[in-house]
Amino acid sequence: MNLLQQVKSLVAKDLSLEWRSKYAINSILLYVVSTVFVCYQAFKSVDIFVWNALFWIILLFASINAISRSFTQESPFRQLYYYSLASPKSIILSKIIYNTLLMVFLSAIAYLTYSIIFKNPVGDALFYFLAVLLGSVSFATVFTMISGISSKTNNNSTIMAILSFPVVIPLLIVLIKLSHNSLIGADRSGSYSDILVLLAINVITVTVSLLLFPYLWRD
């Protein structure tokens, strides 16, 4: 099988596993909705700075929770079985694609719930949604590799947080700037450089993950 076919069947495998248990989706949805509701109870109404910051914090923790399991949800023996069938490149690529799909779905729902419960002050809704999409893709690409690294350690979740926060802060800085611009309805042409930086970071992370993962999976 070539790389493309392997990736396709691995993504299909992950999707059907998720579809059978619906564990990740349901737990993260519950997490997002309850966090939004707690924030609503605490704040009632917020100005746009806090609105933006709260949304990204909720999305950040939701994505860490969703993605940190991506290499530990299946038993080590089954992982070994996959490694004997597929090349490590196709495994990491399939995980990145699957996590991207999962994150896009989750962030769309989070955005919807968030703007229904809190009053939505977004000036340029389409552009804000683009920022959310870019953010979820960036989280997925960065966290997939980090979860691969942290799955090799014993205390997975702590190490996951420690390793991923410094790496994801540059992304968050750009994302918050981009989403703030669309929130106040600023001119779109001013944000193109931010989008370019985000895309560049994503390309770099995916390339570096593809190069490094073959060294990582072997024990």
């Binding site: 960065v142 690294i149 350690t153 420690i162 790496v167 802060i169 540059p170 700037k177 060294y215 990582l216």
Partner: protein, 224 residues
């Protein structure tokens, strides 16, 4: 002596830059005044830090390719020394900021970026402590080191250029070379940069050699 000439060179460069930096003439500029001399001490720290981090990534790549445990020790000692230079850079910078910008930690993308980059390398050290087995530790931390490096470059050198910053050369501010660096300051500055980079590498090699001695001693104790 043939092997040690660069250590002597580094020490001489630093002595020259300290003497010339404190007694040499500087341009009289508003706000900066005499504090412009700090450019000889603050900026070279960052050059030394980034050189050491680059050395660390280089040896991490080499470790993944060849699996020699010595390369892993070089990588981690380069990070340790780099963190030292990062703290020195932050300290000299905070002192300077307190005088010229009025507060030790103004909200500036370069400051925040360097703090976050430090977190990244502290996370690297925490990851190493979390792994018991030596080979596994070396491999996984090398992977994280290489993974984090390009993002750190974006953080320190690309993001500040896009946003408003108090630092020269970003957000439309003019660079040092346009503004302050007259023809006397320039050679002193480059001497200081080269000197501190060489000293950084020297500290790194010393730490590496201490680690090697410790490792062989541990092995001897275990064998007896």
């Amino acid at each position: 002596m043939r092997k040690n000439w660069w250590k002597l060179l580094g020490a001489t460069f630093i002595c020259i830059s300290i003497i010339a930096g404190f007694i040499g003439p500087v341009p009289k500029l508003p706000i900066l005044h005499e504090t412009i001399r700090n450019v000889y001490f603050h900026v070279p720290m960052w050059f030394a830090m980034i050189t050491l981090y680059a050395i660390s990534v280089f040896y991490s790549v080499k470790y993944l390719n060849q699996g020699n445990p010595k390369f892993d020790i070089i990588a981690v000692e380069a990070v340790n020394t780099g963190i030292l230079f990062c703290f020195l850079g932050l300290l000299t910078g905070m002192q300077w900021a307190n005088i010229t910008w009025g507060e030790p930690w103004p909200n500036d993308p370069k400051l925040n970026g360097s703090a976050i980059a430090t977190l990244m390398y502290l996370a690297y050290l925490v990851l190493r402590n979390a792994l018991e087995e030596e080979q596994k530790r070396a491999k996984i931390s090398a992977v994280y080191n290489i993974f984090a490096f390009p993002i750190m470059i974006v953080l320190l050198y690309i993001l500040p250029k896009l946003t408003d910053s108090l630092h020269p050369g970003s957000g439309g501010n003019s660079t040092f070379s346009d503004l302050d660096m007259d023809n006397y300051m320039r050679p002193v500055f480059y001497t200081a940069v080269a000197g501190w980079i060489l000293i950084g590498i020297w500290i790194c090699t010393l730490r590496y050699r201490v680690r090697l001695i410790e490792n062989t001693r541990n092995r001897d104790v275990n064998n007896h």
